[in-house]
């Protein structure tokens, strides 16, 4: 059943072969992200908000910390690979003969669609106001930035991205007044995630995340036009980069100074792993992007196998091929309640225990898998116009 759809889905709408190891890595983090959200919706001891202004809210125990910590891979991988896929798709569009202006307009439109989706579908799912600046809105703005920034040489984008990632913690936005509210909101959107002044709230500031997308863009340009053999040869570099990145994470946490927006306050596992996600500090990005590199290496390692398109990896691939559709649907599937008439901090009608939540997550993934396959079919039947944006 799955294999009949496989041959159809391994090519993009333009007929070019997909880089399936990217779909695989993205699929893994989509599934993990689903866990984070179902847990956030239904578990009493689920926490978020690590690192907002250096704060470190306590977790009830190590288990709940780790159940949240594992989801840290999601946003960096999601945004990094969005940059990678963006670079590849822009190159393909240009090769197909599309002109620069049309590509720019396409990216701006896509960015605006994402901003609309964040306000209309994503924010209400979390019980946030439409002004909430979340990951989808952040990617939307990054796409608009890249509609122009893409004209810069890849090396310049790579250097700028590295400089931002390594230096954004020194950024001082105090010259922007926090009264009136627009000043506050601007700081939230640019670099200072906060939930302190409702409705001017957000968790995914543009400055650090556009740099993560920039790294992904650089990788995408590097991968474009590579043969299957050359891609296979990247397994080792990806694995080594991943291991080196995680080793660098250990050094940064050990030194407990530069690169840590949340200091290591002791020597327990939680102390070592408690890093700042909002905004993402260097330690956070080293750990998560290092993990992502290992996922990409694993994807390359198994992508030629017979069973790759079936079973669990087939399911992950279908998630990875439809990230935005998955994102929008999974939120409401796991929320399992209508939107609130007035946005308010989300509180479930009752709490679920850990086993029930895990079961809900697993069943939800199967439902999402079928929905993703259905959506792919729909996209093939009606490739234009609106479905191309989701």
């Amino acid at each position: 059943m799955a294999s009949s759809g496989v041959q159809e889905t391994v090519k993009t709408a333009t007929g070019a072969p997909r880089l399936e190891f990217i779909d695989f890595a993205r699929g893994i983090v989509m599934a993990i992200m689903a866990w984070d959200h179902v847990s956030g919706f239904w578990n009493q001891y689920h926490h978020g908000g690590e690192g907002i202004l250096g704060r470190a809210p306590p977790f009830v125990d190590t288990t709940w910390f780790l159940l949240r910590f594992v989801s840290h891979y999601c946003a960096p991988t999601f945004i990094f690979l969005a940059g990678t896929v963006l670079a590849i798709s822009v190159k393909r569009r240009l090769e197909k003969g599309e002109n620069q202006m049309s590509v720019t307009l396409h990216l701006i439109k896509r960015g605006l669609v994402l901003l609309f989706l964040e306000a209309a579908l994503v924010s209400p799912a979390f019980g946030n106001p439409w002004t909430y600046f979340g990951v989808i809105a952040c990617i939307g703005v990054c796409l608009i930035i890249f509609s122009l920034a893409r004209r810069l040489p890849t090396k310049v984008i790579l250097v700028l991205s590295l400089l931002i990632i390594l230096n954004h913690s020194f950024l001082d936005l105090s010259f922007i007044p926090t009264r009136p509210n627009w000043g506050w909101y601007l700081r939230v959107i640019l670099h200072e995630p906060s939930f302190d002044r409702w409705p001017y709230v957000g968790l995914y500031p543009i400055i650090p995340w556009v740099a993560v997308m920039g790294l992904g863009w650089s990788l995408g340009n590097y991968l474009s036009g590579k043969s299957a053999e050359e891609i296979k040869g990247l397994k080792r570099p990806f694995a080594l980069t991943g291991v080196a990145s995680i080793a660098a994470f250990i050094v940064v946490r050990w030194l407990n100074g530069y690169g840590n927006l949340v200091a290591r306050m002791g020597n327990t596992l939680v102390d070592w792993l408690y890093v700042s996600k909002y905004p993402p500090d260097l330690a956070f990005l080293l750990w998560t992007l290092g993990g992502m590199c290992l996922m990409l290496a694993l994807g390359i390692h198994i992508q030629g196998r017979e069973w790759f398109h079936g079973g669990l990896s087939g399911m992950l691939l279908s998630f990875g091929r439809n990230p935005l559709f998955f994102y929008l649907v999974h939120l409401w599937l796991y929320r399992a309640q209508p939107p609130d008439f007035y946005p308010r901090a989300y509180v479930p009608p009752f709490y679920l225990g850990l086993p029930e939540t895990l079961l809900f997550w697993a069943v939800g993934l199967v439902v999402l898998w079928r929905l993703c396959l259905w959506y792919e079919k729909l996209k093939r039947q009606y490739p234009k116009p609106i479905l191309q944006y989701i």
């Binding site: 790579l158 230096n167 913690s169 530069y258 200091a263 306050m265 002791g266 020597n267 102390d271």
Partner: protein, 196 residues
């Protein structure tokens, strides 16, 4: 003479230039900001001393032993709200005959009039940020819950004793020690003002 650059392929040369730019800019920034207040903390600076303390705590004067701050003595306490409320404070006074332990005893005596304090431990000597300090553990009973606390005392060169304490429910000794080491480690004092 063969120029070195000619020996390096353009691919590696570009990578080397990129690396140098990134390392130089980042290194300069780290050097430039080496004395910055860490994220999550704010700086207190008055009465001849300065130190950093958790950003979410708002300092109030004369809370514990009712001494309005001046150069030679004073006390301040800050509290944060929320599920992991943190209480921290600093008491300073002219060094007494008993040194740091005497000031610590005094704080516990005065605080015992208002709070149920148990489990006062022995003093242990340690180093925070290059300062030789005495550290003492204690517990405060709040609503039948025992909240662990830690205090550290140090004698400044001008003869003032500074005791910084920190309490937080649900946090371990590591966390308290870390906060104390940050606050005490950042403590800097100035010489007394000269009479005009």
């Amino acid at each position: 003479m063969i120029h070195m650059a000619a020996l390096i392929s353009p691919r590696y040369r570009d990578a080397a230039i990129m690396l140098v730019v990134v390392v130089a800019v980042t290194g300069f920034n780290i050097w430039l900001h080496r004395g910055d207040t860490p994220v999550g903390y704010q700086l207190y600076s008055a009465n001849g001393f300065s130190f950093i303390y958790p950003r979410e705590c708002t300092l109030r004067e004369a809370v514990v032993i009712f001494r309005y701050p001046s150069y030679w003595l004073g006390d301040m306490q800050g509290e944060s709200s929320g599920e992991a409320a943190t209480v921290m404070g600093v008491v300073w006074e002219v060094e007494q005959a008993g040194g740091v332990p005497a000031t610590m005893d005094e704080i516990i005596d005065v605080a015992s009039d208002y709070y149920h304090i148990t489990g006062v431990g022995f003093d242990t000597a340690t180093t925070f940020g290059g300062k030789q300090v005495s550290v003492r553990g204690f517990n405060v009973i709040v609503n039948d819950v025992s909240v662990p606390g830690l205090m550290a005392g140090w004698v400044s060169p001008e003869g003032r004793v500074f005791v910084i304490y920190c309490l937080s429910p649900g946090r371990g000794d590591d966390w308290l020690t870390f906060q104390l080491s940050r606050m005490m480690g950042s403590l800097k004092t100035e010489p007394p003002p000269k009479p005009r």
